[in-house]
Amino acid sequence: MVILSASDLRKYYGEFCALDGVSFKINEGEFVSIIGPNGAGKTTLINVLTGLLTPNTGKVFYKDKEITGIGPEKLSKLGVARSFQLVNIFPNFTVLEFLMVAVVSRLGKGTNFYSSLLRDQKVTSEALEVAMLFGLVGKRDVLTKNLPQGDKKMLDVASAFALHPEVILLDEPTSGVSTSDKNKIMETLVSASKKIGIKSIIQVEHDMDIVFSFSDRIIALHQGKILSDSAPGEIEKNEEVVCTVLGQKECFKIFSALMHEHTGKGGKA
């Protein structure tokens, strides 16, 4: 079943064409990675998919409902959440309060003017549950601005998970994190999404090891166009195309990753 689809998305910034006729369908249960060089239109695509930006032409559908340009707030209520490439937090909040914002809005308690937040067991326990999934329970009372970079990033992702969405879009969830931690983060993400019941994950990612070992499908963007859209195993067929997109260095990485997989070491989640 198709859960998220885009048809012929075009987005211009003045003369510059950031998205040039992008169409695809994401199925329930899929883990899709979007790759491409800087300026390929990846973040623009996420912004259009999440309704922050309205495309010049084209439509986005979530299940059967059109969500083009619907805006982040309504989108989150429908069941689509996202995280950000750059750290995006509430600096003066504690970790727990941060997650509470998402829980409060999911439970529709935002217009509760008069009840005590601290005494709300349901909100607290659900926020703690998410903190637990992401290993942030021990830091529940730490101000988010004092967290290390990696935790800030995790918290941003965790808050999106706390909305219990069906689809989640992650914009470079492991950027700025050391290579050794990347796999751990991805495993946390995948297991958390299973526990929460997230059906599909779409992520923008630069690290090809991560892309190849976790994705069901890889969409390669270049200059606003989809160059290839296939399973990691089939990417060899698009080898030339992908190498044009990613450059020599990434090309080498892909092949080393593939070699890795062929030797039977890499496992898909």
Partner: protein, 329 residues
Amino acid sequence: MKPWQEILSLKSTKVLILIVVGLLFLGLPLFASQYVSYLMLTFFAYAVMVLGLNLLFGYTGLLSFGHAFFMAIGAYTAAFLTGKFSILYMEVILVVAVIISSILAALIGAICVRYIKIYFAMLTLAFGMLFYTFLLKFYYLTGGDEGMRVLRPYLLGFNLSEIPKMQYLTRSYYIYTLVILAILTFVMWKIVSSPFGLCLKAIRDNPEKAEYLGVSVKRYRWYAFIISGAYAAIGGALLAPAIGQVDPGLTYWTHSGTLVFMTLLGGFENFFGPLIGGVVYIFLQDKVMSLTTYWRFIFGAILAFLVIVAPGGIAGVISSLVKKEKGGE
């Protein structure tokens, strides 16, 4: 166990301080001069206004430079009801002030909350000045620059017109206003510690992220604007009988500036900051004005000093001192 005990003791210390301060305020007319009690009375009215202002400024991140508009709405409501309609019940005056200010805040807020930062500040300032001109030019209705007299209202249905004026103000009306301030402080405390309050702070810190977490940013800003306006109007309605005369100067932009000054002086990051700022401002102004006619110069210097040295205001300085003390133990 230990951290819990700490929190409990911390909380009970705070509650104790509040009770002591409350009792001090309540007993003040017994040992202080009528003049000091009268100044304190005006502070109570201003305290309600800055509580409202800080819901917008400190908690939602919107700096209103036209909050005196709502204060004037409250004050003129008192003048109209007592003077033109002979409605003298203070409770009726307060309710009508809340209704009128909420309706106006809903209309003006719907426009203003679409903007933030300087644009929001300028828009609110513009509405304040529009009302100023209205009050000035429609003099057959409003008395123009001479303003209107405010008759002495009944409190809880009691006609207290036999009591000498200062005694009425510094005893009956004093306690009445203090009780309302206490109730409204409690209500505001509940609001900022509710889920709604959390959402407001999220909007202040990062509206984009808040929106992605399902917080409807503009709608909540609008709610905050209305609550804030209603508070300012209550403050204005309480102030009117104390000053006995309302005039367009109440809604002039410098008066909005005074409210902002009080908030900054006390510290907008702290719930009680604006209240501390209010009481210090009123007594300091009184003192400085009696010493020199250039009191604005001195207040300008204080403002500059605050922004540069202690942006957290008095409350900020106190809390950092408390932290230091604890760190030293």
